[in-house]
Symmetry: C2
Subunit: 189 residues, 2 copies
Amino acid sequence: MSPSPRKLEIISVASTLFKEKGYSAVTMRDIAKAMGIKAASLYNHIKNKEEILTFIIISLAEEFIEGLDKVKDSKATCEEKLKQIISLHVDITSRNTNGMASLNNDWMHLKDQLDHYLVLRVEYENTFRDIIKEGINNNEIKNLNPDIMLFSILSTLRSLYIWIPQKEDMEPALLASNLSEILLKGINK
Amino acid sequence: MSPSPRKLEIISVASTLFKEKGYSAVTMRDIAKAMGIKAASLYNHIKNKEEILTFIIISLAEEFIEGLDKVKDSKATCEEKLKQIISLHVDITSRNTNGMASLNNDWMHLKDQLDHYLVLRVEYENTFRDIIKEGINNNEIKNLNPDIMLFSILSTLRSLYIWIPQKEDMEPALLASNLSEILLKGINK
DNA sequence: GTCTATAACGCGATAGAC
DNA sequence: GTCTATCGCGTTATAGAC
């Protein structure tokens, strides 16, 4: 079943605080105060603090996997696929910059779903790497170490959550096209 | 005066734990246990927990400022300067991957020195951006949004602390030259 | 320099009134 | 659905013995 509106509100408020101070430094009292209620009242909507973090991280991770699978299965060129991945990151991050902070920095505080998260992350990186390797075989991409290329591009994409809120005036589509130019011309032959 | 060996040992052990779980989730008991002593004993060497974090972050931030100032004042081409900056990051990060995690993720928990840190960070980014702009004026670098180029390169360099420990077999010099190829060919005309 | 003991406080979470 | 009150435990940090 899908979360109630009130639960989603808690998750949204918590995301904002988690981005500012990190999951561990945010207390249930902080979250409650930001919502104008008492900490005990939060437990009518959520099981515990961990559940909030789990929801934030797992739903984002699954959104990325889903998006990447569509890209993988398309019949586009490798360059087109990479541009689609860049747009995927800009798109998801623009809609949830706060959650992206937890996805990047707070995943190690997952308990029940830590293993699940790690599987998703490895799966994502493997699929991404395969697309790069496909480009190398196609002669679309320079024959350099694919791990370094993956690391370089993914580091930039994973940091978008810090940068996008500082550039609210920039259109996501424009950002994606500028990023594609910068990231890909370092890869294209 | 410079810190005693025992104090440096505490800072080193704490850095490792801060990288694994983040500053807020690491307790003084965790640090003490990792050193084989009791938490109370730590206070013979350090003032409080915050002092450990402050030392880790400020000394790294100053090392970066110092390194960047040397690059800025050199008479190299812009491309050469950027390669030197990449080497600077690879070098500092290779020597202290644990501390780099705190520099990236725990700076908001600084108290006394938070403002100082923020000044250093802005100063670093401004100097870096000026070098990029210089390259645009020199026709060495594509005339794209310098903020996006700065963000893209710096995001990758700031994420090196995650990646370097996974690739211990890779020579820092080789990593720096591969990164220069990938990062700069997306900028060079 | 490390220890035990403890102060002073904040934490996540629960019970039960309304 | 929110509240007050509270439990049980963990937190940083200090005092004082050795």
